[in-house]
Amino acid sequence: METQIIQEVIDPKMVVIAYLIYLPIALVLTYYVARILFKNGKVFMTDIFNGREEIANATNRLFEMGFYLLNLGFALLILKIDLGAYDVFMKQELIEALSKKLGGFSIYLGIMLFLNLYLFFRGKRASKQQRIQAEYGQANP
């Protein structure tokens, strides 16, 4: 009969382990996404700023900084695992909680990636329109 008793265990060590797994993965994921996005963002920026290399690079770096700040902040904000919802917190719950957190964070990162891409494309379109307008204006004074 004793094996039937459900142990109500919340192991604090498990929570720390969960945090120690979550943090590096979230940080590396953010770093990787930001690097990929802004390595390719340089092309857009050079186009938007008409080949003015200095300000294009500066803008790219500033956007990268903003991306890092926003996403690392969000990653840290959602770190806390609410132990009130668990009667037992062992290996299985650890993996489940991690999957929820990391899955949610990945989806959030994906949305942010596409948002940034949208901004790039919008900037590109606006600069192209300006250029066309300038040429048109010069042709017909």
């Binding site: 604090p12 300000i55 500033l62 956007f63 900084m65 700040l69 902040g73 969000f74 770190l79």
Partner: protein
């Protein structure tokens, strides 16, 4: 060293590192923007940039130092990580919001400036 002291050390070093690093990157890259805004007066732009950097450091490091004493007390490593991450998230997110507002602001001024220049030239 007890847990509270550990919290202070970890929190202080992480936030100080982030603030110093971000400030430096913004200082370096924002210089081009300021040069662009205050175009003929490069000297003034450098001065303004340096003053902005010092102001930024004072406000943010001052905020961190001032709120250090109001951190919740950690009972074990779990709560320590939670507390540090929550406070760091708050600082980093407010930095992000400020940063995005600043970029929008600079862009808005630039737009306003070019519009003014354009309108100034129109009557001739």
């Amino acid at each position: 060293m007890n847990l509270t002291l550990t919290t202070y050390t970890i929190y202080g070093s992480i936030t100080a590192f982030i603030i110093l690093r971000v400030g430096w990157v913004l200082y370096k890259n924002g210089a081009h923007y300021l040069d662009d805004l205050l175009y003929p007066d490069i000297e003034l732009s450098h001065t303004v940039n340096r003053l902005l950097l010092v102001g930024y450091y004072l406000v943010n490091l001052g905020y961190v130092a001032g709120t250090l004493a109001f951190l919740e007390k950690a009972e074990n490593w779990t709560t320590l990580i939670e507390i540090v991450s929550k406070r760091t998230a708050f600082i980093v997110l407010s930095l992000a919001v400020l940063h995005y507002f600043n970029m929008a602001w600079v862009r808005w001024i630039k737009k306003f400036q070019t519009k003014n220049q354009y309108q100034g030239q129109q009557p001739k």
